[in-house]
Symmetry: C3
């Protein structure tokens, strides 16, 4: 349970995995890949931040929102595979930033998720990525993140 | 042919698979995964709805548009694998909503695709998902949906 | 080295693979699939075009930007697998267009990437695809493209 010890060192407690807000499920496994549904910056069911980055949410807050989304993704992954030491690698991550007009620093925001995953998982946490902008996001979350993970048999 | 019977019960007739509108193909299989190209709300080659949700397209119409996109995805899948009973599971779905400023109910719109897939395929239709917003979409469709499906050998 | 000869015929010289601009890596392989991080229209570290398509970037320029992104994707792929003849097929491509209000011809823009891949790889280059719009993109690139590739063992 090294990954969980690392989380404890970092002061991160995984929450109960979020219940889907609509007609889908938290994740699906196919072969050794787990596809996890997009997560926002919900803590105990409430969005920690709301709004557009570059308008009423700062880049620093959005970085934190991306980290919260990554924590929510790990919570779902743990509930699916039981033990986070079974992670072989984070394969791919998509980060979507609810961006005000003229905000073009999406990569710096999504680093909140990416850097956290590397902090927790080391080299296994290094992933391919696409950081994107949306003009709106569900329920006005500033950030949404999804990922694909390779796990052991 | 249980899935096709279920479609008949639901009164859904799969159309001819849509021809790509540009330089790509309808789907690609790799191993047991089929990646299907993004589909819009075209019926017989014409978009059933046009415009932005929350502006000139209602949430109810967009829900219907998402269902039409899901029907178009199934039509392509059937032409690729021959028999929809070979579906093992819908792995992942991305739904993109052409959203007016301030519209943040993308998950409810994309439920039009998600609920239809579960209605047709039962547990095999339950998928991981990301519901997103775009400021525009190709040819002014209100909704675009793509998916990844695991199929039998 | 047929693919590389074809690139030479087309007058395309693959650049050094771009260094990630943030906390991620250029690509990740899982089984026979390579997921490549989103690429923009950078040449020698500088964006060739900047801005929104339909505003200060023309459709023709954006088509060219999509082609440059595809070249950057191939450069990363080559550095990962050594020899582009090991490509079995381009499985999936996502193209994101930084679109001005009212611009709805994303598919024509992303053809710049898609047609180039088919020109280079022939049938192996034919892919499933989703062409999308974003209200902004990182560092104001007009186009970002990512892809998933199946490679030989």
């Amino acid at each position: 349970m090294k990954v969980e010890e690392r989380l404890k060192e970092l002061g991160v407690k995984l929450p109960e995995p979020a219940k889907p807000v609509a007609a889908y499920i938290p994740c699906v496994r196919t072969g050794n890949l787990v596809f996890i549904s997009g997560q926002d910056c919900r803590i105990n069911g409430e969005l920690r931040y709301k709004g557009k980055v570059g308008e009423n949410v700062t880049e620093e807050e959005a970085y934190e929102a991306a980290k919260i989304a990554a924590i929510n993704l790990l919570a779902i992954l743990k509930s699916a595979i039981g033990d986070l030491d079974k992670v072989k690698k984070i394969v791919n991550l998509h980060g979507y930033v609810n961006s005000a007009k003229g905000f073009a620093r999406q990569p710096m925001v999504i680093n909140g998720a990416s850097e956290f995953l590397v902090e927790v998982l080391g080299d296994k946490g290094k992933h391919s990525r696409c950081a994107l902008s949306c003009n709106e996001l569900p329920f006005d979350t500033p950030v949404e993140v999804e990922m694909i993970v390779e796990v052991e048999d």
